[in-house]
């Protein structure tokens, strides 16, 4: 395998890019893994309220030292802090606010996203893999907008934005945007539109992917 020089956005740059698109005052759930890093790039002035599905709105940063309280953890079971204005609620309420369309945005990691916005992120499907779904299926279909944050290519170079998911599905037609290290994609009724490119040309992107792409990089608004 030929070594390829790193290009495109770093994980932190990508997290910052997603953070820029989260509206002021939004109620947001950041999935476990890469999306958690987005919180580092949300300005306190943004008044964004973070939801954690184990039962809290107004989640603060990770807890350290004396702040650690075993009764106060996030969905990844990491000790966190509470911000002024935080609230606690039981699991059925927590998922009702998700499923009921009250969350503005959730950002999830993915194994694969299909051209029509199907998401696969919970199970590799390998027979020796113990399946675990957690809140992934509820999150995928619950929020008003579901964004995916992922590297465009897997470690072996296979594209993760695909015509049809081959991994077991988490949700059908639920993803509206895909933020990757090489490009930002919008999943639209007409197809997959490229909104922004990072160190990668549109033609090159078309060669990388088997998904037909619409070029929206020159349209003004971000």
């Amino acid at each position: 395998m030929t070594a390829v020089a790193p290009r495109g956005l770093s994980t932190d740059e990508l997290a910052a890019r997603v953070a820029r698109d989260i509206p002021h005052g939004a109620y947001v759930n950041l999935g476990i893994g890469l999306p958690t890093r987005i919180s580092n790039h949300l300005s306190p002035d943004s008044q964004i309220v973070l939801h954690t599905e184990n039962g809290m709105l107004g989640m603060g940063p990770e807890a350290h030292g004396d702040e650690v309280d075993p009764d106060l953890i996030n969905a990844g079971k990491v000790p966190v802090t509470e911000l002024p204005g935080a609230s606690y609620f039981h699991h059925a309420d927590s998922f009702a606010m998700m499923r009921g369309g009250h969350l503005d945005v959730c950002v999830l990691g993915a194994y694969q996203v299909s051209a029509r916005g199907d998401l696969a992120n919970w199970h590799t499907g390998r027979p020796d893999d113990i399946p675990a779904v957690g809140g992934a299926m509820d999150l995928a279909i619950g929020a008003k907008q579901t964004y995916v944050m992922m590297n465009l290519l897997s470690r072996d170079g296979t594209p993760k934005l695909v015509p049809e998911c081959t991994y077991p599905l988490t949700g059908v037609g639920c993803v509206s945007r895909v933020y990757t290290d090489l490009a930002v994609f919008l999943i639209e009724d007409e197809g997959v539109a490229v909104r922004e490119l990072f160190d990668c040309g549109f033609d090159e992107l078309m060669h990388l992917l088997e998904v037909p792409l619409l070029d929206r990089t020159r349209q003004g608004d971000r």
């Binding site: 039962g55 079971k77 000790p79 279909i141 949700g171 059908v172």
Partner: protein, 232 residues
Amino acid sequence: MVSILHEPTAAVAGIPDGATVMIGGFGTAGQPVELIDALIASGATDLTVVNNNAGNGDVGLAALIRTGRVRKIVCSFPRQRDSWHFDQKYRAGEIELELVPQGNLAERIRAAGAGIGAFYTPTGYGTSLADGKETRVIDGRSYVLEYPLRADYALVKAYRADELGNLVYRKTARNFGPIMAAAATTTIVQVEEVVPVGELDPEIIVTPSIYVDRIVRVSAPVPVTEPVGAGR
């Protein structure tokens, strides 16, 4: 009428082999470890357990699984970095797993306590976890029919109770407690403190006493293992 007991062993008395037992907690937050220890000591086996996870580390639910008392577990996220006892039993074919998306798990429990016969949920539609289930399109959206999840017993950890059985919880340790308390025939709760009736502000009571059958005070619960990031 609630019974206030002094020992966890007395609180779990009478749970028979083959019972369905809901156990509160999300990971270790809100896990009623002393009640689970007492359940292990009681010898009850062939249990169906409902929890979000399948045990963390070596104590509590993990120990119940390690001792071979759990025939089947209904949960959303069994596989974690520290779920080695479940992993071993599962790979050996010694425990049955019913995997349920977390929000469907919560709503099925809630539905049982609320007397709902079944409900249509969008979660899981088009996925392998909805295979074989009834579906329906309502107002252009696709839904899956899910049934309530009841239990014979619920083991719950709350923060404070009054002598009538009203409960308040602490922070994210609340998680499944209130809905499990309502979904079980007999609800057994460990709390850090029992206060006289009238001392809890009625406006802040989370679980009303009607759902609670037995209370036991465990004033200094053993610290469970340090929480570790281990997935949902």
